[in-house]
């Protein structure tokens, strides 16, 4: 069973296990990555040319007053710049491409994987949270791939190149100049340590602000009812201030770090002036080389500063990838993994044998359920809210797995059947008809391309849907989401009928809608339903009197057990549970103008329900 997937992660800054997994996504783009590294190497080399040309210019030409030599140097410099420009663009383009492809691959991986997760997973995790995995979290990784991993190599190349050139020019001065590097590393390490702990604090405190806001917005009416605005504001101001304080601390470290790096680089330049200067005086170093040394030293510090920026990218990428891999590591629904066993088209006999089922532990929702539905029979399942009716459907379609007993279709245990094939043989119509964005036709077809246009319209006529659709200017091509929703609840029902009918299923499972439908459409639905059930094994969670009256058999479920079974008349005569349910739920439907009486849900505020729906859509 899949539980709730938390957003909270351990939050390590660097996790080699995660990193290795992430790098696997680079593997298909090896060639591009290697090429891009090569380009980076070239770019780093070209970056070294500038200061060296300055050295040559000063030593050979400026000092000796050769003006024509400068032209040549300038021309060479120009070409170097131009080539570097082109290579840089190429390198960026390739790496961005790789980054985008990897994100594409990741998104596909997560999405495909989630398609195969069991339904319990979706029932337990809010949609909004799951979406973040496919969207935001993947987006965070983009930076890691496009500008993180690879450019770190670029920085390292540049550093190595500078060190190499400095040593070639003058090894003694190089040693003196580079003597500040340990200092720089020490400062960076110290800074990182301090910043890391305060960033952890910041994250904790912003999470607290978010939780507080969330809670207070949804409970604002309670706060207002009890006139607690001032008290809650004080609490908010307090955690807000703590958050501010945590930041002020990092600001302190940042404000200290940047000047410190600048001071260290000034230290390097001072050493060059002092030691290199005396070498110039002693004629062991040229003036041009001294200038070049200063320019190289300035360039030396950029990549190091860059590296600490990259650290932040790395940190958020680690957190995002951990959340992603948590999803990818969830086991898929077993039914997707088994060897498909298909049968000749289903005949439609359904049998439950002593089935027990619980969503959690031993809290039985269904207890010892046994019944048989013969081919072509229409069976209505009735019971109060929460009696366990929907769970029967969930088991039969293999959305959930029973705990004990056996469920057989045409005499074969459904667990031996391929779930995809099984579902393809069933026409399932749920209470709330779900429409995918797209045209009416696409919603009818649902991927079934073999269905001809003529057959499609024939089906629609058959279930009385056609008369509504033909009124739309664009007919079957009308977008179902146009102006909110163009179809009424009743029309959606009819569409769901046509959709199910298109697959010509032998077994029909229907959870009748309870929503109020105008009497005219209601009649159409009843008529269409009769046609739909004709010649098919039908299992219906019934809310309509006409449906139960038409059923061959009624199964009464009460508190997870089958309590009564028989026809409408038989059960009424028994004057037991069915009789009572009939009094509460169905009897009123005989009246000409039925009073909309619900089965006993506590009333809810219609506006807040609307809001909930809106939020779900977000």
């Amino acid at each position: 069973m899949h539980g709730y997937v938390s957003d909270e992660i351990a939050g390590k800054a660097y996790d080699s296990r995660l990193m290795r997994r992430l790098l696997q996504y680079l593997a298909p783009y090896k060639i591009q990555v290697v090429f891009s590294l090569l380009l980076l190497l070239l770019i780093s080399l070209l970056q070294l040319v500038g200061p060296y040309l300055t050295k040559i210019a000063i030593d050979r030409y400026i000092s000796h007053g050769i003006s024509s030599g400068l032209n040549r140097i300038a021309l060479l410099f120009f070409f170097v710049l131009l080539v570097a420009f082109i290579l840089r663009f190429l390198q960026t383009y390739i790496m961005e491409w790789v980054g985008q492809r990897i994100m594409h691959d990741l998104r596909m991986n997560i999405f495909s994987h989630m398609q195969q997760l069991p339904l319990s997973f979706f029932d337990q995790n809010p949609v909004g949270r799951l979406m973040t995995r496919v969207t935001t979290d993947v987006q965070v990784l983009n930076e890691l791939f496009s500008s993180g991993v690879v450019t770190i190599f670029g920085d390292i190349f540049t550093l190595a190149g500078i060190i190499l050139v400095l040593f070639i020019m003058n090894w003694k001065l190089s040693l003196v100049t580079l003597s500040v590097v340990p200092l720089l590393f020490y400062a960076t390490l110290l800074f990182r340590k301090k910043v890391r702990s305060s960033f952890r604090l910041i994250r904790k405190r912003i999470a607290r602000i978010n939780a507080f806001l969330q809670e207070n917005i949804s409970g604002m009416w309670v706060v207002q009812l009890f006139s607690q605005e001032a008290k809650k504001f004080r609490q908010f101001a307090h955690i807000n201030w703590q958050y501010c304080q945590a930041y002020l601390k990092t600001i302190f470290y940042y404000a200290l770090f940047f000047p410190a790096v600048e001071f260290i680089s000034a230290l390097a330049i001072a050493m060059i002036i002092w030691y290199g200067g005396s070498q110039v005086l002693g004629a062991t170093l040229s003036l041009g080389a001294l200038v070049a040394f200063i320019q190289y030293a300035e360039r030396f510090f950029y990549p190091i500063r860059d590296l600490s920026e990259k650290y932040n990218i790395l940190q958020s990428a680690m957190a995002a990838s951990e959340r992603i891999f948590n999803i990818l590591d969830l086991a898929v629904d077993e039914s997707y993994q088994q060897v498909p066993r298909q049968l000749p088209p289903l005949k439609g006999k359904v049998e439950f044998r002593n089935v027990w089922f619980a969503y959690q532990g031993e809290e039985w929702v269904l207890e010892d359920i046994s019944f048989t539905v013969n081919k072509g029979e229409k069976v209505a399942i009735v019971g109060a809210t929460g009696a366990g009716k929907t769970s029967i459907i969930n088991l039969l379609t293999r959305f959930y797995q029973k705990n004990r007993g056996r469920i057989l279709i045409d005499g074969i245990d459904i667990e031996e059947l391929d779930a995809g094939w099984l579902r393809s043989q069933i026409g399932l119509i749920m209470q709330d008809v779900f429409l995918f964005s797209g045209s009416v036709e696409e919603n009818l077809r649902l991927g079934n391309l073999e269905l001809g246009q003529a057959r499609l319209e024939e089906l629609s006529r058959y279930v009385h849907l056609d008369q509504f659709i033909s009124q739309f200017p664009r007919g079957y091509q009308t977008d179902v989401r146009e102006r909110g929703s163009i179809l009424s609840a009743g029309q959606k029902q009819l569409l769901a009928f046509a959709r199910a009918l298109a697959r010509n299923p032998q077994l029909l499972i229907l959870d009748e809608a309870t929503s109020n439908i105008d009497p005219q459409t209601e009649l159409l639905i009843q008529e269409a339903l009769l046609k739909l059930m004709d010649g098919r094994t039908s299992i219906i969670i019934a809310h309509r009197l006409s449906t139960i009256q038409n059923a061959d058999k009624i199964i009464v479920i009460h508190k997870g057990k089958i309590r009564e079974m028989g026809t409408h008349e038989e059960l009424l005569a028994q004057k037991q549970i069915y009789y009572m349910l009939y009094q509460i739920q169905y009897k009123d439907q005989q009246r000409p103008a039925p009073l909309p009486l619900a089965t006993g849900n506590p009333s809810t505020n219609p506006a807040s329900e609307k809001r909930k729906k809106k939020e779900d859509l977000k």
Binding site: I73, L213, E215, S227, L287, V291, M580
Partner: protein, 582 residues
């Protein structure tokens, strides 16, 4: 446009006038010292060419150290000051944002998704903070460093400055051009991103249909298609964006090339010294970063302005329920309630939920409201503490229009127990004593005991100090309902509203609760909304709502005798109870 959006920020900035002024002084001083470094270098190089002694050399070296040390101190003060102020403004803004939310009515929160408000309080606020902090800082920095560095360069050699700065106007022209195109392509990427998100959302929401109709592979195919399109939209953005940094580097390189080439020649003809040549180069390098950052800064301003606009939208939202301009002076209420032809609709032009309700509830009496789901029962009781105001008609308490009673006084006298107990992530004690500023321990105990929750609480690990919510224990629905009742009872209200509060409490507990409610609130007006007829029988009066209208009213006996809706409801209730026991 940008300025208009940002104008609300001026009052926040002016609160920190002094700090900002001091920070600007540090900023200027920092730049003065930083800019003098190449000048020291110039003396050193020229000195080396002229053959100075090693003592002068160590003097220059220590001068460089001293100057950069002082510059560092100033930079530290500047960053800590200015960036710190941006964080403090963020703090002020977030407080104001929250304070304003507290003044908005439930109908506003019904209309507005929580996620949207949250993202304004976090993401948008962050964008505004970026503008105020790094945005303003870099803008000032760029302006000051450009002016001073360029004037120093001109001082060294006007012609050389002119030539080496020639690429800059071209650069800004190209950036401007590219910026627009970049903006459009970015918009397109964003638009597709939301489409991609919507697709994922749809798939997850409809996963049951996807699985039932074997649409998994078809959905994957569809997702792949728009995923690939997203890649190509992104790549079209990269085609421009990828030029940005290389182009910047090309242009700054060109500046250096010109200095090397023409500056070198100037040294040869003795127009400038070699030291000046090196210093000139240094200034040019100093200019590169701030000018490169200018594009980023502009982007920060754009985003900050948009975000500030989104925050202002909320801050300018007028609260639709607030104190009247001429409230009456009252300190206590008797608890007489009267509704005169009250009409209420959740949204303009939508069908009213209450269609003309007239009703008088004498102080100290008990009114029960029954009726089918959606008949307007909860809506009706929500009007009394002014969670909503009637769309038409009037509501009077003690003979005064409810809108003229100060909101605080009104709500202090009303105890409201909702269907679903709402708990804050706090201790149970704080949750019960929510409405009290000061309270005694035994008051909390008494309220808990009257609500039949005391025993449950005593079983919790830390009793009344047990945390609830995210980082604590989760209470069951029935427990939450009872905490909600205790919260209302502790305040000893004149008017007690119970909106179907015992739906998740078993019948025997409910009876005990009723007994203590009657004892504790003997003189209070009580209004009860319920599905359980059993708890209605003793009410002084019962009304039956259907479709937003009162269809029947009277006592239990009278209504039963009428054999109408109430009698039918009662009968069904009896059957349901019987069914429950089977």
């Amino acid at each position: 446009m940008i300025l208009k959006e940002l104008s609300p920020l001026f009052s926040y900035l002016s609160k920190h006038k002094k700090g900002i002024a001091v920070g600007c002084v540090w900023l200027i001083l920092t730049n003065c010292f930083v800019l003098s470094l190449p000048w020291v270098l110039k003396y050193a190089i020229d000195g080396l060419k002229g053959g100075i002694n090693s003592r002068a050399l160590s003097f220059y070296a220590s001068l460089i150290l001293a100057v950069s040390l002082v510059a560092g101190v100033f930079r530290f003060l500047m960053r800590r000051g200015l960036i710190g102020i941006s964080r403090k403004i963020e703090y002020d803004l977030r407080n104001d944002f929250f304070r304003h939310l507290q003044r908005l009515s439930p109908s506003y929160f019904n209309r507005t998704p929580t996620g949207d408000l949250m993202s304004r309080a976090t993401n948008d606020l962050d964008a505004v903070r970026m503008l105020l902090g790094p945005g303003l800082l870099n803008l000032f920095n760029t302006i000051i460093i450009s002016i001073t560095a360029v004037s120093l360069m001109i001082y060294i050699d006007p012609w050389l400055s002119l030539y080496s700065l020639i690429p800059l106007p071209f650069l800004s022209l190209i950036i401007n051009r590219m910026g627009k195109e970049l903006y459009w392509r970015f918009e397109r990427v964003q638009a597709h991103y939301s489409r991609l998100s919507a697709q994922v959302q749809e798939n997850f929401a409809g996963i049951r249909v996807v699985k039932a109709y074997g649409q998994e592979s078809d959905q994957i195919k569809r997702f792949r298609r728009s995923n690939l399109e997203f890649v190509s939209k992104n790549m079209s953005l990269v085609k421009i964006w990828g030029f940005f940094l290389p182009l910047m580097l090309l242009f700054s390189g060109m500046g250096m090339l010109i200095v090397l080439w023409l500056g070198g020649k100037a040294v040869i003809v003795n127009r400038i010294t070699l030291g000046e040549f090196v210093a000139f180069n240094g200034y040019l390098i100093m200019l590169v970063w701030p000018i490169t950052a200018l594009g980023w800064v502009l982007n920060l301003f754009q985003r900050g302005a948009t975000s500030m606009g989104r925050i202002s939208q909320i801050l300018q939202q007028k609260p639709d329920i607030s104190n009247a301009s001429h409230p009456i002076r009252v300190t206590s209420l008797r608890g007489e309630i009267e509704l005169r032809n009250v009409i209420f609709a959740y949204e303009e032009n939508s069908e009213p939920v209450l269609k003309g309700i007239s009703l008088k509830i004498p102080p100290g009496s008990t009114l029960a409201i029954v009726g089918p789901t959606g008949s307007g029962k909860s809506t009706l009781v929500n009007l009394i503490p002014r969670l909503y105001d009637p769309t038409g008609g009037s509501l009077l308490i003690d003979g005064t229009d409810i809108r003229r009673i100060p909101l605080k006084i009104l709500r202090r006298h009303i105890g409201y127990v909702p269907q679903e107990g709402f708990l804050f992530s706090d201790t149970i004690r704080e949750n019960i004593a929510l409405g009290k500023i000061s309270f005694k321990e035994d008051e909390v105990m008494a309220a808990a005991s009257a609500s039949q929750i005391l025993e449950d609480i005593n079983h919790f690990p830390r009793k009344f100090l047990t945390q609830t919510g995210e980082r604590g224990i989760t209470l069951s629905g029935g427990q939450k309902q009872r905490v909600g009742l205790a919260r209302a009872l502790i305040a000893n209200p004149r008017i007690l509203i119970l909106d179907d509060p015992f739906s998740q409490v078993d019948t025997s507990t409910e009876e005990a609760i009723w007994k203590s409610i009657r004892e504790k609130t003997a003189g209070s007006t009580k209004i009860l909304v319920t599905h359980r007829i059993s708890s209605v029988r003793d009410a002084d009066r019962i009304i039956v709502l259907s479709g937003g209208k009162i269809v029947e009213e009277g006592t239990h006996k009278e209504l039963l005798a009428r054999k109408g809706t109430y009698a039918e409801l009662y009968r069904k209730q009896l059957i349901r109870q019987e069914l429950e026991e089977l």
